[in-house]
Symmetry: C2
Subunit: 468 residues, 2 copies
Amino acid sequence: MLNAADTSFAEQLEKAGIATRPVTEPYVEELRGNYRGLSEVVALPVSTQEVAQVVRLCSQARVGLIPFGGGTGLVAGQVAPAGPAPLILSLERMSEIRAVHAEENSLIAEAGATLADIQSAAEEANRLFPLSYASQGSARIGGALSVNSGGLNVLRYGTARDLCLGIEAVLPNGDILHGLKRLRKDNTGYDLRNLLIGSEGTLGVITAAALKLFPRPAHVATAFIAVPDPSAALQMLSLFRGHIGDNVSAFELISAQAFAFLRTTHPDLRLPFDRDPAWCVLIEVGTGPSTDAETALAETFEKAVTSGLATDARLAQSGQQRAEFWAVRETIPEANRKIGAIASHDIALPLGEVPAFLAEADDTLPALFPMRINAFGHLGDGNLHYNIFPPEGESREAYRDKAPLVTRHIHDLAMARGGTFSAEHGVGRAKIADLERYGDPAKLSAMRTIKQALDPLGIMNPGALFRD
Amino acid sequence: MLNAADTSFAEQLEKAGIATRPVTEPYVEELRGNYRGLSEVVALPVSTQEVAQVVRLCSQARVGLIPFGGGTGLVAGQVAPAGPAPLILSLERMSEIRAVHAEENSLIAEAGATLADIQSAAEEANRLFPLSYASQGSARIGGALSVNSGGLNVLRYGTARDLCLGIEAVLPNGDILHGLKRLRKDNTGYDLRNLLIGSEGTLGVITAAALKLFPRPAHVATAFIAVPDPSAALQMLSLFRGHIGDNVSAFELISAQAFAFLRTTHPDLRLPFDRDPAWCVLIEVGTGPSTDAETALAETFEKAVTSGLATDARLAQSGQQRAEFWAVRETIPEANRKIGAIASHDIALPLGEVPAFLAEADDTLPALFPMRINAFGHLGDGNLHYNIFPPEGESREAYRDKAPLVTRHIHDLAMARGGTFSAEHGVGRAKIADLERYGDPAKLSAMRTIKQALDPLGIMNPGALFRD
């Protein structure tokens, strides 16, 4: 059993030279308002050595800790609503870009650097750091790695995991793992980097990362393309990839329901179509200097129209219009919060299974209760945010008890088709029951064995991934 | 202490319905002739269930086992020259391509499928499986994943790890890990896939893998380009990537010494230049339908000449000539074996450190003893096979005792520049001392903890990665 991180523990930390502060809202309030943490104390180390010292002190005092990034996680990995209050170990004061190696396409960032900070540092070196999503101004790279977050450019550049060459981390015993290699190849023993990435702070605290950069595309073209249905959208993706290879960097699905929500919650937002299509795709193409992105996009769109895969399009005519197009996509989560979802899902499917899943869900869900469905997201990755809302004019409160039912139904359908109940958000505390229900027993057992071996006291993010 | 897999254990396996056979040369003879295994019995399971049964029987009898692929490993991961003879668990009878999902760019292969088998299956579906190296006709995907092998196309497509979406494996306790997901995103707990990949058979037996496929490039151009020195080669790589993005799929460094060896050992091989340049690069560019690869290559080459980064080139004029160019590159390891290396090294460096490393090695190595150096390999990945040979007319036997000295020197230089002593071959039994010397102590300690937790009896590839 762990002890709470109380004021007397805070005094111990202060005595050891570690800055602390009492928690304020952002440290204990989950973004969607579904969880509230019990933590009282925030530790604010300024160096990897200080992080190691905090971990050792927690270990000695049998106090749990939550490695804390930007607090933007969506599965309650960063808030402990039960159990002895863990220490919040915030990386916010470790936010330096330690080095930029433009010629090697890499940089070294501390865990507290925000995605936006890293994007800017890359841009200054005329490079691209492609990890990008709505919360990039506050999401920190340590947290992004700890859940292996994805976002808008995974199709071309991969998830946080794929963008990481090496990490520095503090292990549960206080050891510092020195793994900031800038190597593309290094086969020297177990892959602890990838074990820590995605472990949601339960095996250690990532303190810095060596990250991949990419050449900035010379030409970018962005368009909304209306499609008859998701199946046509996927065939169109194939068409695009056949013609312009891996230059397709984003392929986002948006439905008429999403546009309807945006028209309600954000009436000033400029939407692409006067009459919202049932389904459309936001596509972005980025090319090198020798290929004109707009021409490539327009030509392939024409082929899609001829094949009956597309019906209409709006091509961004300027950088400003491209930003407006992306604002539409990135405002969807906020609109959803304002409307108030009964249940949100972060599912992924093998690409070929997406259309059948959507049809099956459409056919079977309304039998549960009347609802509105907003399915949107990263179609190119097979990753949909499949969210359920009350009928117009009703509040989600009236349906709160139905959330588990609908979630079970959606996850069952996705899993039966070889999918997953968590594509890019992680498990945290919110999806432990799903992990137990759907997880491979051999995997769960090996996970417990590894957790027990590396963190025998259970101080690292107690209550996340595993039931207390 | 483990027991040997002797004839009486073979009888036990047979009784349980598992086919066995006495070992023959290929199972105990390492390719370069530096190691000879003691094993006596080969088990030949035909299904994942049979693999699990073999593992359980080994566990009950305290018998070690070596998961065995094509036997092409270069670090003695597959041969046990000491200790109680382990069972050879060969995956050769599990070589099916279980499914091809062309529209999703993925396929499922059993561990015993060779890289060439998988390449063919991909090609039949008009797709590319890019993992490729000289031994691809015999190397099996299970072994390739277990060492996270690399090869010729890593620059564009990544290593074996990067090409794997999911694995099925048998864990040391006999549990079957069902992880053959065809998902691009799946954040549901610890990344056991990547833990097993690169663990060299010490944490389990990979029995099948879900692998990524890619569109086949519509146009391919291949050229030898002579460069003044490795630094110019790297600048030229930057130039190419700036102009044609990630369409550069291979960027191999070859020196005059490599050509000289080839002229001696393979006098009938057609070499690209009449007078071998001091350094040259074999570059391959693959593009989509809308870009002409030859033009892109030729235009960028002209820019390189203007900038003083290249001096001469031979562009392959046909598919046959392209094959001849690659034969030159792929014959280098065989030529090296015929000449007889004193010591071979598989180092990698941050790209920016490669030229300084080469200069420093050139400056300091000759003080050890007279030698010839053949440094070649995957320059685009910072990965060099840096091999040391006796002076002309002398045999490597006379220098055998100097091998540790020169290896230490080369690894010291590489590590001091943030490099690695094993880029793509792994650690096996050959590089355990290097791992102990250069490995991060926190990493080594965590590795031991994980090994002990998941394989408490130590039956999985005993003697590999860890000293017995």
